[in-house]
Symmetry: C2
Subunit: 344 residues, 2 copies
């Protein structure tokens, strides 16, 4: 028998609602001899308003002792932009060295894409999670004056690029099409871009079976809407990955379905699974949020913890549910339906 | 009688072909008492291979003495990525302080969008052209080694942001919907993002009739495919503008139709007009390229030089041509058809 120690951070807005359904499905799919121990952490806008804290050191230390983290959504208009993102969400990703930010882009049968012709879409974006323009390196001079200057420094290391690129090659190698696309902007961001390009070519020598190509990020957005079926695995930097995965969510039926994993493959730190969507305060507390993205993130969590069969069950349940969807259901109705399916 | 001194830079690949059609239409639409004096400059991959030069100082000085520049496309796979982009195209934009990079996103009647439902799309992106991650500020340490570090510094100034933001407000004010959307990523790139947000709010006080909103760049890509009709004028930074305008081109029928102006509104330096597409070496020299993007860029050029009626004529000709398109036509057939329309 095995115990999963799961830290749960519901967060803000619809976070609470969707996480509840994710846990419901997780509980239903786990084998009887696996014990699920969850600890909920109150982090996000409420705590920030109450105590001024975003992620206290002792909470960070406690989170570290878990096998994984399930996160709902972080952010509220009442908190200045960036405070919770940098102070909590990104702090977790950086503190736990989540260098693989994994985001599948899959159009499930029965789901309407905004793209005419309903193309077949089944790719995965491997987004770097701990470098690039996300490092928080920058500042302002003459702040608040008409002479203000603001900088943002994108930091990129061979070390950081190599590990995410190798991870992406491995994933491509394991997929039927064995295709890997590097997305960057190496004709403008020449320093970072050439480093990515060099490492991509070097690591590629270890994977002779994988077909590769390169796209500038602007061109990639075109293919996302005109020819999304061309993509298999995409590897890209933190910011480009952020942009492309929202676009991927849009063309595959919306962010209500987009899952993600912030993964530390070494297991040194807990990996964190979260829907790509935000806290959506406009629909919070109304049972309107689609918990599917969270449930699919739970599938990624299961896979990461070695429960491949259970992960596949959850994905199959979602696929079946989406194929048969009709009418409007509440957040918990969707969760119930999925829990029944995985238990069946 | 008036003379237009136009510098023409056909550039690489299909550049030559599309520019020829742009000039054909320009010649056909200009009033009889306007003299068009064109000087062609051989810049791009061929010159680089021949002489190693991208943009020699004397050519830059000559270009400066013109009223405007018409550019085809720059870039070829035989030249290392970044050499011509940074050494020629971006050098021109920066040297001539093209801080307004204007890119309309309009779905013409009769043009198929890859979006289901063929939404109404008619917005314009005002992309900052002289700052942000495009400044070329960055470098590498331990270059070529497994310890390499590469940086890219995004530079943003209140001065630079204010002038493009004010320009965008003016354009919004002049349009029926009077709506302006700021796109950035101020929850992550907090230094640059907050500066953009502050200036956007400050300048907005001068334009009480303009409705404003803000979107993170990732969310903006979602709306580009799910609800593009929500946009009127968008103002954004150099890199986000690059990405969003390729996506805009994709949803409005492809880069064969996407025009752009690199504008210096003061007139101190010549503005430069160019299609958004690249040099497309795979179809170069075959008469397959659609010159419409260049012709629409010529319309922007006319408008910039004060020929508003002629600009409108060119746009109307394109609209009529697109509405009636059927079958495949060569590059020059499209140009001929448009020239006939504007002359009629
Ligand atoms: C909320 C924000 C910091 C975050 C990001 O930019 O990574 C989000 O957009 C995401 O994609 O997970
Ligand atoms: C070719 C490249 C330097 C350029 C850019 O990034 O601005 C192009 O993509 C564009 O949008 O005009």
């Amino acid at each position: 028998s095995r115990t999963i120690r799961l830290a749960v951070v519901p967060g803000d807005g619809i976070g609470q609602e969707v996480v509840a359904e994710g846990l419901k499905v997780l509980g239903a799919v786990l084998p009887a001899d696996v014990k699920l121990e969850t600890t909920e952490y109150d982090l996000g806008a409420r705590r920030y308003h109450r105590t001024g804290e975003t992620l206290p050191d002792d909470v960070l230390a406690e989170l570290k002792s878990h096998d994984a983290i399930l996160l709902g959504a972080i952010g509220d208009p009442s908190v200045p932009s960036g405070v919770l993102e940098r102070g909590l969400l990104l702090k977790l990703r950086f503190a736990f060295d989540h260098h693989i930010n994994l985001r599948p882009g899959r159009l499930f049968p029965g789901v309407a894409s905004p793209l005419a012709g309903q193309p077949e879409i089944d790719f995965v974006v491997v987004r770097e999670g701990t470098e690039g323009p996300y490092v928080g390196n920058g500042g302002t001079l003459r702040t608040g004056t008409p002479q203000e200057v603001a900088t943002e420094v994108s930091l990129n290391t061979a070390f950081g690029i190599e590990r995410v690129v190798r991870d992406a090659y491995r994933r491509a190698q394991a997929r039927p099409r064995k295709k890997l696309t590097l997305v960057h902007k190496n004709n403008v961001l020449v320093h970072a871009g050439h480093l990515w390009t060099r490492i991509f070519a070097e690591v590629g020598r270890e994977f002779p079976e994988v077909t590769t190509d390169y796209l500038h990020v602007d061109a990639a957005t075109i293919f996302f809407v005109t020819q999304p079926e061309r993509f298999d695995v995409i590897v890209t930097d933190n910011l480009f990955g952020d942009i492309l995965t929202d676009l991927a969510a849009a063309v595959t039926g919306g962010i209500g379905l987009a899952a993600s994993g912030n993964i530390n493959p070494s297991g040194e730190f807990p990996s964190m699974f979260e829907p790509v969507h935000g806290s959506a305060p406009d629909i919070a507390g109304q049972g309107k949020a689609d918990p599917t993205a969270t449930v699919l993130s739970v599938a990624m969590l299961l896979d990461h913890l070695g429960f491949a069969a259970e992960a596949a069950k959850v994905e199959a349940a979602v696929a079946a549910d989406l194929a048969e969807r009709s009418g409007t259901r509440s957040t918990s109705q969707v969760g119930d339906a999925l829990a029944v399916r995985v238990a069946g």
